[in-house]
């Protein structure tokens, strides 16, 4: 088994007026990677590059250690993709859908599919068009997890779902990776989900990777330093991601928090969230300081 489920090296891709600019990251086997970015940041284009529906201009994409273009057919037997909108004809029933998928995947497991439908309490003979959004997403998950896929790719799959359904799905994903052979890449802008289940996280904006690493390390490494706007100039540039100037002072997103704790001991450094880290990194592109 390859060390990485996905390995993207220096991929550049122009698609529909959008540029994916020399991106590199990897998803270790047996882990969940959160792929975070605002709308239009390049998440879907990256995912389309991974499944080879968009051909990169340069760079290399390996899945399970195999080139994704050369071994496309073999790789696709082992991956499952869940999109934000259900792509199945809405006149079909889950039962019919199962028969369709049985003709598409060699390793389709009909029993597993039926038990997944039962687990999610999805009616087998009801048309998809009569399903709620939550039910549709569950159905996608059922099809994705019924052909022994080793890699699950999710493109904004949990957006628009209520917290109960999201939580139910996150539990399924955690079960999916517990045997260390399965991996998930989960693109989302709901960072609370990512914080809950992702082992690693990659931030993307404007087609560029902002930061990529282990989720807990990223959270521990960053912090919000509270100070007045006048004192910001005393803080070294290399420690700052960007600065939010507000009415009552400045919030400085700092990196290398442990060092900063010693260097700036007279200031309070608070814990931060993935949401804030994304916000400060995205704002950094428009200048070091920004106001609310």
């Amino acid at each position: 088994m390859s060390e990485y489920a996905i390995e993207i090296k220096n991929v550049t891709c122009k698609f529909d007026g959008f540029l994916l600019d020399n991106i590199s990251f990897s998803v270790p086997s047996g882990s969940i990677m959160g792929f975070v970015g605002r709308n239009g940041a390049g998440k879907t284009t990256t995912i389309r590059s991974i499944i080879n529906s968009v051909t990169p201009d340069s760079g290399e994409i390996n899945i399970f250690g195999l080139d994704n273009r050369k071994y496309e057919h073999k790789i696709k037997e082992d991956i499952a993709v869940v999109f934000d909108e259900i792509p199945f004809p809405d006149t079909l029933t889950p039962l019919q859908l199962g028969k369709v998928f049985a003709g598409l995947y060699k390793s389709w497991d009909g029993k597993q599919y039926l038990s997944m439908l039962e687990r999610f309490s999805l009616p087998q003979k009801k048309r998809i068009r009569d399903f709620s959004r939550g039910m549709k997403m569950k159905l996608q998950i059922c099809t994705a997890l019924s052909h022994n896929a080793k890699l699950l790719i999710m493109d904004e799959a949990t957006s628009g779902l209520d917290p109960v359904v999201r939580s139910e799905m996150l539990d399924v994903f955690q079960e999916f990776i517990c045997d260390e052979e399965h991996s998930i890449i989960m693109s989302s802008h709901i960072t609370s989900d990512i914080e809950r289940i992702a082992d690693t996280v990659t931030f993307i904006d404007n087609g560029k990777i902002l930061i990529s690493g282990v989720t807990t390390e990223i959270l521990e490494d960053h912090g919000i330093l509270k100070c007045s706007a006048e004192v910001v100039s005393n803080i070294s540039d290399e420690d700052i991601v960007s600065v939010r100037i507000g009415e009552f002072g400045a919030d400085v997103m700092i990196r290398n928090r442990i060092n900063c704790g010693g260097k700036y001991s007279r200031f309070i450094i608070n814990n931060t969230t993935l949401d804030e880290i994304l916000l400060f990194y995205v704002r950094k592109g428009k200048g070091r300081e920004w106001s609310v």
Partner: protein, 241 residues
């Protein structure tokens, strides 16, 4: 690829039942009319020429049944191109272990299977109608529905459904092409006949050439199948990119 077939059949299940009922209804009506040519009031017409004229309509029912079956089936199957695009199925197929060429091939095979089914319906209807009407059946009479099937298949195999992205305009385009094709065949026949305005002579001449025309059409359909497969595959890839 079996999955793609199954999907289209499940999606079109109601339509396919309606098409089957319409074709069965049409053939039953045709058989009843042919029966009336032989046993009904039409057979008792005092003028023999009138009775013959009505009876000659027998030759139309088989080709019409074939055309009805094939047009309905091919339109239904090609219509899924549009719905597949709308509900994101094409984008989703990029994640499946199915090649774009297989997706294009599935649609072409659906049209070809429709043509085979339509040919069976057309030939059976022709034989049934001739038997019931008590007319002598020639080899050329059986070839007429096959000719119709071949022409319709040619038009439906053109990759225009992908060029028009499966929109309704594609069906309109198909009708225009069919109209032009049929008229072109008639015009060529009329120009080459001794009396350029005698449509009956033209029809006779065309019927005599039927075996050769059908063979040529079969060859054209086979070539179109493979060309269309390649073009449709590249069009599908372009749409995806």
């Amino acid at each position: 690829m079996i999955g793609i077939f199954r999907k289209d059949v499940f999606v079109l299940r109601k339509q396919l039942i309606l098409i089957a009922l319409s074709v069965v209804g049409f053939v039953t009506l045709a058989l009843l009319i042919c029966g009336s040519f032989r046993y009904g009031n039409l057979a008792k017409l005092p003028e023999k020429d009138y009775a013959d004229a009505f009876s000659s309509l027998t030759m139309l029912f088989g080709p019409l049944a074939a055309a009805l079956a094939e047009l309905a089936l091919c339109t239904a199957f090609n219509g899924t191109i549009s719905s597949d695009r709308k509900n994101g199925w094409y984008a989703f197929t990029s994640s499946l272990p199915v090649k774009k060429s297989s997706i294009a091939l599935a649609k072409l095979l659906e049209c070809a299977s429709s043509a085979v089914l339509a040919a069976v319906v057309g030939v059976s209807a022709t034989i049934g109608c001739y038997l019931i009407a008590g007319r002598t059946l020639s080899f050329n009479d059986i070839l007429v529905p096959l000719l119709v099937v071949g022409i319709v298949l040619f038009v439906y195999m053109l990759p225009i459904f992908y060029i028009f992205r499966g929109k309704d305009t594609a069906s309109f385009f198909v009708i225009v092409v069919l109209f032009v094709a049929v008229n072109a065949v008639l015009a060529v026949g009329m120009i080459s006949s001794d009396n350029g305005t005698d449509i009956a002579k033209t029809a006779d001449k065309l019927i005599n050439m039927l075996p050769i025309v059908c063979l040529v059409l079969l060859a054209v359909d086979i070539v179109t199948f493979f060309l269309s497969w390649r073009i449709s595959t590249s069009l599908l890839r372009k749409c995806d990119k």
